[in-house]
Symmetry: C2
């Protein structure tokens, strides 16, 4: 029989979780007191929070606990990087049904920890409570290292719109799962657990991004945030959207236009930025220097005009961005 | 007909919430970007997180949305103060059923904001998601203002154990609600929405507390944390527990020993500390100087011996502390 979290009790579960943690370099005081202490050498702390709910953001039969942990950490760390900041630590609230297997909690913590390790961030603390619905709340902190935050409001007419990272893979993976498929694994896994190009995001900021966002709601929706906050018009071209062969293949199998995934699919946590032409050239050079190759595409231009995102050619179908109150399964 | 959060949609709900917020002095960049930015002048950030779940930590027929908001913020701000730090900001994750009335969300935000105002902390950002179970995740940040954090591990033999604030009121209120009573209001409201003696907690730290904790799990359980982390024995006397007349009266009505509420009831978020006799005298003077009077009691002594909490006289019955996987209603 599986041992559950309620068999272990609150304090048993907490000590089991603590035994699995590795300390991060920025965590000055980890779990075990009333609160944790995290280094903020810049004197400003960047903070973001996201909640993942079972059957709304993940399904236990589609994703492992480890993958849910990776994803829960990733989407918060990506938000920190989208400010041009270095992630330092996360704290986690786990709301668990009484019968949640202890092994599931173990996998979750391992996933959270492994994703944090990618940025040398630490898991500084958390809370475990009982709930009929399984959910994971993550809050991430980051340090600006003396630089100004890169906001959504800095885009200016005449600049280019670039994307570092993959678009549409997680959305394709979700549609494959909805259609009862588990292949191709690369796309399905992209939904289960994003591969966030953190280092590329930080280099876009360093190259001179005037606005920066991680693509969580979909490219058009997220560029819409930049357009509205900056008071500019962003022009995209369907024909310029990156369409890697694996997306085209999956789209043919499902009878879907793959440009819809690329234009409206979120959760790959690519980084979209606006910058001058010169900055974009710098970004190309800085990204070429990364350990692993990261796709880098100019997808559009910033122009004067009514704030919003428009296509200069025929837009892909189904462009509505992600609404967190919309159905999942 | 009530308008629900799903009628408003994710972005409608977010803009409605943002319109109700007042900015805090430490919030350098509030909601609306990928992340918020909070001042951390000390160069270290204190961080804590807590999740409140409907029917586990609150009931909508027992507490108003405003009271749940006050309580959700309070228990996190109390954890920050229990480190000797000044709260600066909170972020909030709201997981809401589709049919949650928009007015409930309004009340929650007003409660969070009003509690933050007590410490001039800001509501810096958050997330709203759909969930079958209503829950509120709060993460609070604090600034140490150049002082070392006051840990649970600093208690030393020869010191006194003191408490600033009320004990047992929230537990009495919960037992009254469970018995179907709504009176006396002062006790029932203590469960719905604690009155946390934040300023007194900070003064205990300034007076020279060697260990400090907010009483959330119950006095004996929380002093147990100090005893174990410090490797000391804490001696309490049932006869020295503060027993205000309103507790005695309610206990008589319910046929309960009121010392059980005082010794084992959590959620009043009084501050318990260990300190030298001289520091305790300083604390008396510093607390006398507060705007409103805060109960201050010496409840025990720190002695050498096996780590733990013991009563030197007959202990009150039912001393088990709060386990978050235990039943609520």
């Amino acid at each position: 029989m599986d041992i559950s979290v309620s068999d272990a009790g609150e304090f048993g579960l907490i000590s089991r979780i603590r035994a699995r943690l590795r300390s991060g370099e920025s965590v000055l005081l980890g779990p075990g007191d009333d609160a944790a202490v995290v280094a903020s050498p810049d004197g400003r702390t960047v903070i973001t929070t996201d909640v993942l709910v079972e059957d709304v953001h993940f399904r236990r039969d589609w994703s492992s606990a480890y993958q849910v942990g990776r994803k829960a950490a990733a989407q918060n760390l990506a938000d920190i990087v989208a400010m041009g900041a270095r992630p330092t630590a996360i704290v986690v609230g786990l709301a668990a049904p009484r019968d949640l297997p202890l092994e599931w909690a173990d996998g979750l913590v391992d996933g959270l920890q492994d994703e944090c390790d990618l940025m040398r961030a630490g898991l500084a603390g958390g809370d475990v409570v009982r709930s009929a619905t399984l959910s994971i709340s993550v809050t991430a902190l980051g340090d600006l290292q003396g630089r100004p935050p890169v906001l959504r409001s800095g885009a200016e007419a005449g600049q280019v719109v670039v994307v570092a990272g993959r678009l549409g893979h997680a959305a394709a993976g979700l549609d494959l799962l909805r259609a009862g498929r588990r292949e191709p694994a690369a796309l399905v896994d992209a939904h289960r657990m994003p591969t966030v190009p953190y280092a590329a995001g930080l280099r876009l900021a360093a190259a001179g991004a005037t606005a920066l966002i991680d693509v969580s709601d979909g490219l058009v929706a997220d560029l819409g945030h930049i357009a509205r906050e900056s008071g500019v018009r962003i022009e995209l071209a369907s024909d310029d959207l990156p369409l890697p062969p694996e997306l085209v293949e999956a789209a043919l199998a499902l009878g879907i236009d793959p440009r819809s995934w690329v234009a409206a699919g979120g959760e790959d946590h690519a980084f979209a930025a606006t910058m001058s032409d010169e900055a974009a050239l710098r970004a190309v050079a800085m990204l070429a220097d990364l350990d692993g190759p990261v796709p880098f595409t100019q997808v559009g231009r910033v122009v004067a005009g009514d704030a919003g995102v428009v296509f200069v050619d025929e837009p892909p179908p189904n462009l509505a961005g992600h609404d967190h109150f919309a159905p999942y399964s």
